[in-house]
């Protein structure tokens, strides 16, 4: 079975982990309540989508 020959150095570990980033979601403004929400989804604040009530908030 293939095994690593060397211990991964702290430098290599940290370089690898520095590329591991979270991307901020692109939000849009809800037309009804002016809160930020995900595009093409129901607004979690006012519970509407396309002027139609979808969720009870």
């Amino acid at each position: 079975m293939a095994v690593p020959k060397r211990k991964t150095s702290r430098s290599n570990t940290r370089h690898r982990r520095s590329q591991w980033k979270a991307a901020a979601p692109a939000l849009v403004i809800c037309a009804r309540c002016r809160e930020k929400k995900l595009a093409h989804t129901v607004c979690p604040t006012c519970g509407t989508y396309a002027k139609r009530r979808v969720l009870d908030v």
Partner: protein, 202 residues
């Protein structure tokens, strides 16, 4: 006619996917709208619409075809007697999928899939039911004698949630002063009188 599904099945295999989609279709026809993951909603839509097309045809053969997917005879009866005739004048597009954002536990994208036309009646009925319940509780807390309010409110035409809430808000304060307000006012009067006596003695 739905296009055959490409890629891997949902769940553990083809049989598992058939069972899950059958259960989802049963739940959809039973409740009118269900919340599930986006992937399942997208897989369910062609199947559910095909079942509704069978329901519109309405004969015994169609009923037996539907019963191979939806095993619940009660739900199939509702499908053929209520849901099918409702879509008499609609050629496809019986369901609507609305995305509702990621789920808390595993961040899975969720969606609401609902039957298109019963939406108005059912959702409004549920919403007004909830607001009526809230109003009833509020009224019960305010005064035990305010049982007249919940009787009157169901008769009122609840077109929008705001109207019902506004009515409840209007109803509650008018009834609250009859009992609580009176007690509070008498207590206040006694306290003020006592304070006035103290002031006189001082």
């Amino acid at each position: 006619m739905p296009t055959p599904t490409k890629g891997p099945r949902l769940g553990g295999g083809p049989a598992h996917e058939r069972l899950m989609l059958g259960n989802l279709a049963t739940a959809l026809f039973e409740h009118g709208r269900i919340t599930t993951t986006e992937a399942k909603a997208k897989r369910l839509r062609p199947l559910a619409e095909r079942l509704i097309t069978f329901a519109k045809r309405g004969d015994l053969a169609a009923r037996r075809r539907v019963l191979t997917v939806v095993r619940d005879k009660g739900v199939v009866h509702v499908l053929f007697t209520e849901i099918g005739p409702r879509y008499e004048n609609r050629h496809g597009g019986y369901t609507r999928i609305v995305k509702v954002g990621p789920r808390k536990g595993d961040n899975a994208p969720m969606a609401v899939i609902e039957l298109v036309e019963p939406l108005q009646e059912q959702v409004v009925a549920e919403a007004t039911g909830a607001t009526k319940r809230a109003a009833k509780e509020k009224a019960a807390k305010a005064t035990p004698a305010a049982k007249a309010a919940p009787v009157e409110e169901p008769t009122a035409d609840a077109a929008t949630d705001e109207a019902v809430e506004a009515a409840a808000d209007e109803a509650a304060p008018t009834e609250a002063p009859t009992a609580d307000g009176a007690e509070v006012s008498t207590e206040d009067a006694e306290e003020s009188a006592a304070e006035a006596d103290k002031d006189d003695k001082a």
